[in-house]
């Protein structure tokens, strides 16, 4: 085999490209976003779940909510404190957290996730006119 040079060069190029995201972003970690609570959210004081849980698990909760509401027709969520909520992204979550841009989007952008919830579920109509 006299293609050693080509193979090594190819491997190096491959490795460089595969690791590109790591070394390109080295030392450029973006600061964690600061999220703003809307006035209603502040006034409410507590969310459906304790803060730590809702922060890490709101996506699973919403996933369960949507199946429960859409498929089983159960629409009321009673949390551990016995408080009742309408299981509705539009009418409960986004009604209270009416500042999608400073609340939802900041974290989602930071985490580089792009949930398609908003394609159908209406956030505050005022914010809709971008």
């Amino acid at each position: 085999m006299n293609d050693k040079g080509k193979i090594v060069a190819g491997l190096v190029i491959f490795l460089v490209m595969v690791t590109f995201p790591f070394w390109y972003n080295l030392g450029k970690a973006a600061p964690a976003p600061e999220i703003v609570l809307s006035a209603q959210a502040k006034a409410a004081g507590a969310c459906v779940l304790p803060k730590a849980e809702i922060k890490t698990e709101h996506m699973q909760l919403l996933d369960v909510w949507r199946d429960t509401v859409v498929r089983e027709g159960q629409r009321v969520y009673v949390n551990a404190e016995g408080k009742k909520f309408d299981m509705s992204l539009s009418n409960t979550c986004l009604d209270c957290h009416s500042n999608r841009k400073e609340f939802c989007d900041r974290c989602h952008t930071y985490a580089s996730v792009d949930p398609y919830c908003y394609d159908c579920h209406i956030e505050d109509p005022k914010e809709n006119d971008q």
């Binding site: 779940l49 849980e53 698990e57 699973q60 909760l61 996933d63 369960v64 949507r66 199946d67 429960t68 859409v70 498929r71 089983e72 027709g73 159960q74 629409r75 009321v76 969520y77 009673v78 949390n79 551990a80 299981m87 539009s90 009418n91 398609y116 394609d119 159908c120 579920h121 209406i122 109509p125």
Partner: protein
């Protein structure tokens, strides 16, 4: 060359097995509520919600006088459900609409039909069939029949837009979002979600209103033409109406068992 491919296939096979094995785990997670940290949380129904074993609609065609009456029902439904008004006919979306006797009942009409039937428009919508062909056709259970009350519903989150249900529906009751519907909704009802492009939609017998104790929007706007209720209850208004009057269903010969009845 040979061993390497065999190894690759082994790895591929193993990862496929792992992938398949993960499905039941995911389902188990979903069934348990997914968020194991809040075991005390519960779900329930609104106490004021309307329940039934078999929801049905009775259209009293004798009371229909003008196209405006039908228009009012359409307007009520399409406003509350954020149904867009598309200018291109191909892309049209409708949950309930008015059509002629010979369109609603294509094998029924004859030349000597009564003047009244000949002139009026019939309101048509999803029939919420007892034996729905669309549910049979759907490859993802995105459209399903609710066991508790027989409603045929759509899970827009799950729909892949294959449109098999549209081919399966013998009543043309389903519409497809050929483009983003949002720019074509004049006034958005914030209480109800819109749809996104690429999914199918249809009348849901106002499942979201029944859940909070309200009758379907078209029924409220119908001037008494539409009656809605539980066919499982022999004393309900719909059961009584059907007992006392001769009624038709659309294409009964197909065995779909429509839940929309027409008293002519």
């Amino acid at each position: 060359m040979k061993p390497s491919r065999r190894d690759f296939l082994k790895i591929a096979g193993a990862s496929a097995a792992v992938g398949l094995g993960a499905v039941p785990v995911m389902e188990a997670l979903a069934a348990s509520g997914g968020h194991g940290t809040s075991p005390k949380a519960q779900v329930e129904k609104w106490p004021e919600g309307l329940t039934a074993t078999h929801w049905a609609m009775v259209v009293d065609v004798r009371k229909i006088e003008s196209a405006e009456q039908i228009e009012a029902m359409v307007e009520a439904c399409h406003t509350v459900h954020n149904v867009p008004l598309l200018n291109e006919k191909r892309h049209e979306i409708k949950w309930i609409w008015g059509t002629h006797y010979h369109n609603a009942f294509p094998s029924q009409p004859h030349e000597h039909i009564s003047e009244h039937l000949h002139h009026i428009l019939f309101p048509v919508m999803c029939n919420h069939c007892q034996n729905p062909p669309c549910v049979r056709a759907c490859p993802t259970k995105a459209t399903f029949q609710r066991e508790s009350d027989g409603l045929v519903l759509m899970d827009f989150h799950r729909c892949i837009g294959c449109r098999f249900c549209m081919a399966a529906c013998p009543y043309g009751s389903r519409s497809f979002n050929f483009r983003d519907p949002r720019p074509f909704i004049a006034e958005t009802n914030k209480k109800f979600p819109t749809r996104m492009k690429g999914v199918v939609e249809k009348c849901n017998f106002c499942a979201e209103r029944l859940a909070v104790g309200q009758l379907p929007a078209c029924v409220e706007a119908s001037d008494g033409i539409l009656t809605f209720g539980d066919l499982g209850d022999p004393d309900s208004e719909v059961s009584q109406l059907l007992k006392e009057n001769y009624s038709l269903r659309r294409k009964p010969n197909l065995g779909t068992g429509p839940s929309v009845y027409y008293i002519v």
